[in-house]
Symmetry: C2
Subunit: 343 residues, 2 copies
Amino acid sequence: MKNKQTTLKLIAEKLNISITTASKALKGYSDVSEKTKNAVIMLAKELNYTPNSFAVNLRTRESKTIGLIIPEVVHHFFSNVINGIIDEAENNGYLVIILQSNESLELEKKQVELLINKRVDGIIMSLSNQSNFDSHIKNIIEKGIPLVLFDKISKLVNCSKVIIDDQKAAFEAVEHLISKGCKKIAHIRGPNNPQNAIDRFLGYKKALEKNNIAYDSKLVYTCTDVTFEEGKKFAKEIIEEHSEVDGLFVITDLVAVGVLAYFNEKQIKVPQQIKIIGFSNWFMSQVITPKLSTVDQPSFEMGKQSFKLLFEEMVHFKNNTPFEPKTILLKTSIIERESTQNK
Amino acid sequence: MKNKQTTLKLIAEKLNISITTASKALKGYSDVSEKTKNAVIMLAKELNYTPNSFAVNLRTRESKTIGLIIPEVVHHFFSNVINGIIDEAENNGYLVIILQSNESLELEKKQVELLINKRVDGIIMSLSNQSNFDSHIKNIIEKGIPLVLFDKISKLVNCSKVIIDDQKAAFEAVEHLISKGCKKIAHIRGPNNPQNAIDRFLGYKKALEKNNIAYDSKLVYTCTDVTFEEGKKFAKEIIEEHSEVDGLFVITDLVAVGVLAYFNEKQIKVPQQIKIIGFSNWFMSQVITPKLSTVDQPSFEMGKQSFKLLFEEMVHFKNNTPFEPKTILLKTSIIERESTQNK
């Protein structure tokens, strides 16, 4: 591995291009110009580093194991995704090493290194809240290790992705509240960095705009940890600061359930006084009182598709044929339950 | 591996002992007589198969990876155990391959084989409902691969275990109902095979006996799949067949939440008409209405202890020093919430 890296670096330096470009050129990616490709291949041959020997090297080190890094295991959404990934991986004879970043960028970096040293055939990740196109992700790409991001992605990373249209889904959720008569709609959003939290917030804003409801930044509450407890805390703040709020769109069901718990405790009537819609369709949303309306996110399917995409890329990688990163967009739908009904 | 197996088998046959005993003798287990130990070691040397070469063989094949097989990933209890195992494994520089048996003995067997072929350093398992001391488990023991069972164990397997005292915990749960005035207590139990379902049932029976309440087998309902839906189904049967039931002890919170969902639907008042206690303390138990009383099971700790025990055994295995399987018994406690309160 070391040697390969050194040569790739040398090629990049000599041609004054990035290691990523050099690596892509060798793999035949179409977003590298023919001219650059030829230059890279010529120089690689000169240095006795040809795409073919590269491929042979890879073929022999196939481990039939992939790595999965997710923020949390004890989480309805992620455990369903894990389920989908394991299921699909096993069908294809792959084993899955699971690591949990606990939303720590530090830990996530260490884990990527571990997986690379372990020589996994590919990596699937949902990024931790602070993660972006940092050195560890660059390292995966530069080493040419097949990578798929799902759910919490970074737009900056050029790799395959499995996502939902968070903005559209959030837009529909807020329009659902509006269709039920809500006029003053608050939003409990996710942290500032993750793309899905940004997109859901943008969807919220867009739905207000489209329906001529003035956007008020004071009605937006930002989670740090995205927990049940934060739901309770913001529910209290909303009622105390903005008792006129009649609709609430919450970043995820776990937080929405915290909101409901607080409202139940204080006998604030849902859906009569305030209507609530969550996101993700956690199992508990259908068993609490009142039952929670939410956005259904196909988590098991997201896991299956993530592995399928990774598998496709691993096959190309093994055969040294070009592969274009793809993005799969899965459909979401609104599930109406008691918390948004007109009573 | 093949060769080692063949020699071990040969030793066992020549001495007319089991492969397990031969393997244990080589590892110095104390439950093998000195006489047998000596005979095995002598013959092993004769066949050029000494405990020392055995140890060397192992040292070189250390993979710093362990395998974990559990029935279900999307499961509050198991995902917490996974969390504990990953946490402890990472602290010690180990990676965890997670496989899901989906309660299928067939799949579980295939997965054990996969992990053995993958040369993991050790295996942690919670058995699927039909699993027992079958050939695949025997294979792990015979190959001398460190093994820890947790939660769903088989008493027949001589390996390290991390469990709770299910019988005692169930006994306490049923006595809790009795202390609240329940006189006609039904039990929704788990399937017939798993040890923990048997033990919880025995605890239920014992508590009735001790409190001079006649045991009635008609009040015992047996789950096949241990699901929310089964909870709803049995709740219906209990009310229709035995409306005099005033207390209910349920194998696990997920099923108990199904019971509550049915009772809420039919406006059967909990705890006034019937008191309910679950088992395992799933997160949703504290957010449903009424909040569910339950038995707290230290799932995260169970994961941590499982890895610690495995690690201990792996160290002994590597150094070829004798290791006695241990059983760690973790404490449980009753959590009283609304579903068993006197109102």
